[in-house]
């Protein structure tokens, strides 16, 4: 009888071990990426302007509706007619847009052009240290730039002598 009991216990142990293995596998299956860098409020990187968050890859038509019509626009046909490039210049901000032939125009880059625009208080002319304090630790930091990345875009703050000289968000 004790033999039988032993076998039962062994079997039970196997089952429990498998359950534990299973549980471990289940828990391990989740994505392991670190949480997003604390830039802005959105899951993707974006630059705020006039109460609107602008991200690379956004459709341009609704953005222009939200930002207003006080812009100037330049356009250039891409070589071989695969689409058109546009730049929309607002006071303090420029939107770079690409419209593939027959496709939707999307924002490829966006940049601030003077200190009239800010992301979390960081403006052109601000100090690099203050930028790091406001935006969090960058993914890459050199003397000439701070770089924040997400899956599809990269936010670069160009620096000169510790001062922010450009704030540019672009598609990767």
């Amino acid at each position: 009888m004790s033999m039988k009991k032993n076998r039962s216990i062994k079997c039970m142990t196997v089952v429990l071990a498998v359950m534990m293995g299973l549980a471990a596998a289940l828990c391990a299956c989740g994505p392991s990426e670190a949480p997003d860098a604390p830039v802005g409020e959105r899951a993707v990187l974006s630059l705020p302007f006039r109460g609107t968050e602008i991200a690379a890859g956004d459709a341009v038509e609704p953005l222009l509706g939200a930002l207003g019509d006080d812009y100037t626009m330049q356009e250039a046909a891409s070589c071989a007619g695969i689409g058109k490039d546009y730049v929309y210049t607002y006071p303090s901000l420029r939107l770079y847009v690409f419209a593939p032939e027959g496709g939707e125009a999307i924002v490829t880059s966006v940049c601030y052009t003077d200190d009239g625009a800010a992301i979390k208080g960081v403006t052109i002319g601000g100090a690099a240290d203050a930028a790091v304090a406001a935006l969090g630790e960058p993914d890459e930091q050199t003397e000439s730039k701070l770089v924040y990345r997400d899956e599809t875009s990269v936010l670069t703050l160009s620096l000169r002598d510790g001062i922010v000289t450009a704030i540019v968000l672009s598609e990767k």
Partner: protein, 346 residues
């Protein structure tokens, strides 16, 4: 008996499949040069390039900025502009390998603008650069360096796999073109643009361009420049780096790039010419010499630039071939067509 039937069936299968796929490929791969002249440039280069003394390699700055016909007319230089939209340096390397395989150019002029790129940029431009090249190790290497996300090597080996979805946009012209002789869209690689759209400033500048966030030249581009330099040395050719006289918000040329290009050229002992600095000497005028507001030159600008750059080419040993009767005949035909196209708009 059954074995023979199976063997015959297998042969029929292979032949039928090959025939239908070949037909499909001929029809579906874009082959109308008038619909997209830029896409036909490399195919033309492969068909035409043989014994030219000078080869230009690069993007639109190359195939639209220097008139090869002017180089011939004024200096007797037998040149070919092997350009394609956004030609990257690894594309140029593959094309140069092809050029040395079929000919012996003595001067190689390489566009400097592509030095900014370290990564492949656009599938459409990759296709325009690579689809026309014949299969070779150089092409395979360029393809693997060029593929953007979602592209596959197989689709470069069998372009039908890329263009198969054109089946519902085929026109009757696609069919008739198969029976027609090939049509040239360029003049030894030079793609003529005849329109005029003046630039407000009259001079090149990149006001409005995206601020430069990555000042370094492309690492991979620099590697390939070194490879190109080595290839030229091995083949006894003189390599020249060239920046065309254009600068705009869409295609800016930053001071940082200029400084690095100069340093790089000095390190590799390659002569470098930035024609932006010779803008006035060339006699360019953006109120008349550009067809798109200063981003590219039109035929008038390209002729002025060729007139200026021809002298430089002569300094590097580009010979005057106007004493070669066969070349004279060939160029006569191209020149007549060139003048005819130019006059039609003028």
């Amino acid at each position: 008996m059954k074995k023979i039937r199976v063997i015959v069936a297998a042969c029929v299968f292979i032949l039928l499949l090959g025939l239908l796929l070949s037909l499909g490929q001929a029809l579906l791969v874009p082959h109308d040069p008038l619909a997209n002249p830029e896409a036909a440039l490399i195919g033309e280069f492969v068909d035409a390039f043989a014994e030219e003394d000078v080869i230009f390699l690069g993007d639109c700055e190359i195939y639209e900025s220097i008139s090869t016909v002017t180089l011939w007319k004024e200096y007797g230089i037998n040149a070919y502009a092997c350009g394609s939209p956004q030609q990257l340096l690894w594309h140029s390397y593959a094309m140069l390998q092809h050029a040395f395989a079929v000919g012996q150019p003595s001067v190689v002029v390489l566009g400097a603008y592509a030095l900014r790129y370290s990564e492949p940029q656009n599938e459409a431009y990759n296709r325009m650069a690579l689809d026309g090249l014949p299969l070779s190790r150089a092409k395979l290497s360029a393809v693997s360096a060029s593929m953007t996300q979602g592209e596959s090597l197989l689709s470069y080996l069998f372009p039908l796999l890329r263009y198969h979805d054109r089946w519902d946009t085929l026109t009757w012209r696609d069919v008739t073109l198969l029976a027609e002789p090939p049509m040239a869209v360029s003049y030894q690689g030079y793609l003529m643009q005849t329109g005029v759209l003046p630039d407000e400033n009259g001079r090149p500048d990149h006001e409005g361009a995206l601020p430069l966030t990555e000042p370094a030249l492309g690492e991979r581009a620099v590697d390939y420049l070194e490879k190109i330099a080595l290839l030229c040395r091995e083949n006894g050719a003189q390599l020249i780096l060239l920046k065309a006289p254009t600068d705009s918000w869409a295609y800016p040329w930053y001071e940082e790039w200029e400084a690095q290009t100069e340093a790089l050229a000095a390190r590799l002992e390659i002569p470098y010419y930035n024609l932006l600095e010779a803008f006035d000497e060339i006699g360019l005028d953006y109120s008349a010499d550009t067809y798109d507001g200063g981003m590219h030159l039109n035929v008038h600008g390209a002729e002025k630039t060729a007139h200026y750059f021809g002298e430089i080419l002569q300094q590097y040993g580009a010979p005057d071939r106007r004493d070669d009767g066969r070349l004279l005949d060939e160029w006569k035909g191209w020149t007549e067509r060139y003048e005819h196209e130019k006059e039609q708009v003028d």
